[in-house]
Symmetry: C2
């Protein structure tokens, strides 16, 4: 027979192998460092039946290791700096070899500093270097085996896993670098536009932070939270299209001038529209001058017709404007301000 | 003994296992789709002793498969669209099961279209679905086993490899998406700034493209090529700090006004400086008005003191300016223009 169709969806491998390989695949399911560290530490705790896993990373231009750990049940990432020369971790990093210490109280190498900082009690350690080819990225420590001692055969699994941990963390670092570059860029541009408007010093930064906090408060998560930040940063970017003499006019604007100012939401839309990845951000910016009572611009949308992110930016934007001085009035107090924003 | 030090740097595993796992790790060593596809196809050709490997991907919002293949010894990626329902690939995708066809001439399922397009002669195929949990990303085809037939045991390796291929390609797609977003953003901002300067329509786009081409011509690669593009896009971004009335002045500028225009390289530096990832881009922009003879600005640097990327932008910028009409003169011919740029 020349055609072979497998009767079951894929085939059977030994359960251990299959589950291990799927677990490793899970390291790559995200490009966010925090998410990856969480997955790796949890996976290794499970595989080795250990109480805790800590990951020590050495960044390229630093001469110390950065220490990451997750406490069970907590979502918080602890970050501590460790000197390269210290403790079992330092030895493993320096010698690029794994090490098992089944009773740390009998080991002179053991450095108590981390336990003192974290309040955790270390008994036994399996530590292995993270690397790929000639590059060394750091060290993984598997701590307190629950059932007996770490054994040499455990190191086989470590060897298998080590390059994957290293690459997963490196990729996340690369991803975060370009994401940081993106955020840095839009912040800088927003500030450059802000610099043209003499009344708004620091406004962009405040709107970014407050939009993020308010979005979190109303339950947004992950990408939506990121979008709230991006929209907060870029909400006034369209002012780049408003002539300087109107933007910088120290007196009250005429009706015609105000109509021109209103166009900044349209200009923002035009600037962002060619970027397909901005499609969820544009409505948040385009509609951030709509009002819940329908008296806003550009379309006079009402209530929940206005996209949620636009409502968030709108509240934060108004709040910050009222909390700032203007040539024709002083800033409102926080209390008065809050009242007025929520009356609006 | 409570402390166990392994005498050799890490331990031995069977050579096959070790090399396979290292080969899989290689899929993740880059976040560039093209590089990853090349690695995956080459690795699978080697593992299965096959003549060719093709990867078919289904993007989320498309109802066809995109086909990628590398011809041996060529660096070119071929991209072809295939209907979801067609051929062995379509069957494997639809049924989410692997399939071995050791003589395609005897199979009614086989779709000749791809061979006709690529000029390649297919004899035998092992095809398996790319997926992870419930998501299906596409299909991998391993073509023309050089020594005999594909066997069921080959599918064990496919199963092991499948999730890694899927994740590696997904991560690259995610990375490219944010990279595209970054480029889209800086292009849009550059165009918004350009829109304030009535003499420069399309200038940014041309400088981006020409800078890239010239950088390639002088032998730059990878990140340096990307930097040439970024610097090309952003070279005039500092004009956001120049008052409209100077930028838009239809007559010749006074000496004082020209001094203000010159500040655009300083403003660009100030805008980009807070972004640490921009450190290689800033000199290219800051010095793009220096001249080889030392008569440029802002520092009067000479010859090779001027960073290479800045020299590239400078030539391209001058070339494009001379090739464009100005209110006070027509564009120069390509020949005259080239002469004048290289005399400069």
């Amino acid at each position: 027979m020349e055609v072979q169709v497998l009767s079951r969806p894929f085939l059977k491998m030994t359960i251990f192998k299959k589950s291990l390989i799927y677990k490793i695949a899970g390291f790559f399911i995200s490009l966010e460092t925090k998410e990856i560290l969480k997955r790796i530490t949890e996976t290794l705790e499970e595989i080795f039946n250990a109480e805790r896993v800590s990951i020590f990373r050495k960044k390229e231009d630093r001469n110390y290791l950065e220490f990451y750990t997750f406490s069970r049940g907590e979502d918080e990432l602890k970050k501590i700096k460790i000197e390269l020369s210290k403790g079992i971790v330092g030895w493993v990093y320096k010698n690029n070899r794994p090490l098992i210490v089944n009773d740390v109280s009998k080991s002179k190498m053991f450095y108590k500093g981390v336990d003192e900082l974290t309040g955790f009690k270390t008994n036994s350690i399996l530590a292995f270097p993270l690397g790929l080819k000639k590059r060394r990225y750091g060290v993984v420590e598997i701590i307190n085996k629950k059932d007996g001692k770490f054994k040499r055969k455990d190191l086989k699994i470590c060897e298998l896993i080590s390059p994957f941990v290293a690459i997963a963390l490196e990729n996340a670092a690369l991803f975060e670098k370009i994401e940081e570059m993106f955020f840095g860029m839009i912040r800088s541009f927003a500030k450059a536009v802000e610099a043209k408007d003499p009344y708004t010093s620091g406004h962009v930064e405040r709107v970014e932070n407050l939009s993020y906090l308010l979005a979190k408060k109303v339950g947004l998560k992950g990408n939506e939270l990121k979008n709230a930040k991006i929209a907060g940063i870029l909400h006034d970017i369209g002012k780049i299209g408003i002539p300087d003499e109107i933007l910088k006019k120290p007196k009250k604007l005429t009706k015609e001038e105000y109509e021109i100012i209103k166009k900044h939401v349209l200009y923002a839309k035009e600037i962002l529209e060619p970027i397909s990845e901005m499609k969820d951000i544009i409505p948040a910016i385009y509609y951030h001058h709509e009002r819940y009572d329908g008296k806003g611009y550009p379309e006079g949308k009402k209530g929940e017709e206005i996209p949620l992110l636009a409502r968030i930016i709108s509240i934060v934007d108004a709040f910050d404007a009222m909390a700032s001085d203007r040539p024709y009035r002083k800033a409102l107090s926080a209390k008065k301000n809050t009242k007025r924003v929520f009356k609006k």
